[in-house]
Amino acid sequence: MEPLKVVSSRTVVVPLANVDTDQIIPARFLTTTTKEGLGKQLFADWRYLPDGSPNPAFILNQPAAQGCQVLVAGRNFGCGSSREHAPWALVDYGIRAVISTEIADIFRSNALKNGLLPVIVDEATAAWLIGHPGAQVTIDLASATLALPTGTSVVFPIEAFARHCLLNGVDELGYLQSHLADIERYEAAH
């Protein structure tokens, strides 16, 4: 995996709470056997009209959203199904970080394994971001800080090992395999 250190981008805001993984990518697209190319199905039922044309009312179809790598969302983003297709679709589309006051457990775990930063912030920071779509923000993973254009900088929580892996491009599977002797010892004892 490519190391990830800094994400600096304008934000696109989906202010809804409880955006579930069925909205991020509907189940009918899960019949794929690869991870590639899911970006075009990101938020499919909000992004496209029944005839398949772009829904002009949805934020991702508006000019201001083009090129944004940071998604700001309402609380409890990514709830529901464990489908890793959700972060695959976001990353394939070009999103590198999701900011919310709360991010669902399985989605957060899946995101970290795909170079998508889950950034959990306090209510006031989230309210400011939701009120200022398109704000230019910088997320620095080494210091775990989110810098706003106001000059304010907030620290966000991130699991230490996941951060280490992202910063250094470490593959978690390789790390697990380095514990093979421990695994064999455990299996012998149980």
Binding site: C79, G80, S81, S82, D105, S109, K113, L173, D182, Y186
Partner: protein, 465 residues
Amino acid sequence: MAASTLFDKVWKAHEVVPETAATPAVLYIDLHLVHEVTSPQAFSVLRSSKLPVRRTDRTLATMDHSTPTTTDQVFGNVPIRVDAAARQVRQLEQNAAEFGVELFGMRDARRGIVHVISPELGASRPGMTIVCGDSHTSTHGAFGALAFGIGSTEVGHVLATQCLLQRKPKSFAINVEGRLPPGVTAKDLILAIIGKVGVSGGTGHVFEYRGSTIRGLSMDERMTICNMSIEAGARAGMVAPDEVTFAYLSGKPRAPQGARWDESLARWKTLVSDPEAAFDLSIDIDAAALEPMITYGTNPGMVVPIGGAIPKSGDAIHDKALGYMGFSGGDAMLGKPVNTVFIGSCTNGRLEDLEAAASVLKGRKVASGVHLLIVPGSQKIKRDAEAAGLADVFRAAGADWRESGCSMCLGMNGDTVGAGQYSLSTSNRNFEGRQGVGARTLLASPLTAAASAVRGRITDPREFL
């Protein structure tokens, strides 16, 4: 030694390497359940890294999510109508053969929804760690196992190493006391719990369902409860094993036998939270005060007693949900029309759920214009329901009785609800579009589903008791 919860005990027993500030625990996984939708990318990683499946004896695969439920597609000569689903099925067959993984394939008599077949085989047992690339893996917690859903990358980790990197979650006691009133089921109880905790109230926690009400539930009912833990944000939910658990497991094909059964039983009996054990969070629920519950919105926490009205107070989320559902604040739920009724899924597709539905449908007809789809959770349940005469009741009532699978719980196998249609469903998610583009889902119990199918509108099942 400090007092421990059930969860603490199961976690501790599976630490290959304990967690530190810098690194998560390496946690051993006793049973890995695999299905066709979330595994192809994981097998691809193994293939490209030239890695074998480390413990094929701890890995069990089946196909359920994208498989069709009509008999002609499963057992006849009719090809699977959804092309991509057919490819996914073939891919799993190929992966299982190549890596030596046991597969209950399309026509296997043991096939079914992954969370239904493992318990009925006796493969899900107390004290185990169980994972699957599916969030409803929490179901197996009903046996006192630590069971949770994982993503496809982690499916690859478990296939290759039989381990996962995990931070230890916090604990959350759900204390339920009192007797459930007639017509109020395990499904109503878990919907009420989700309504109270909220859809993210359990995030970062493992639930333990405790109290006299839980002790009085059957295994089928406990599985319904644990299944929906994820809908409150908790990755796992557990029930301490007891005589009900042991009686269920005794004699099951993969349960230990003879002397090994006795040894297992002695160990399983220690799997309870110590009386002094502390939980990070807890709530108390009075079961006797509960009523049949039904959802009105677009997440499982938007739920009211069936005789109640949709809350009026509106924030943006509430208003968007009501707009999608075509409802207004203040509307009564009773009497609203339904177009489709779905009885099935890993939440409510077990034999007791079908018996409950049959108790209402016996001698009655599905209302004109309503499609009642009944899908057993496994082929075994299908056979058992046919032997018990339940299928005859369903057919006589005008219901559509199918082969097992996830079916209409999620619209990816050909079983879908039309745009704008109302679906009263015994499944677990009422998210926008979950059952089909534009579908409007109302979650409730099998009793409520059957009663509403008969009347063609939302009906209190207690009218049929």
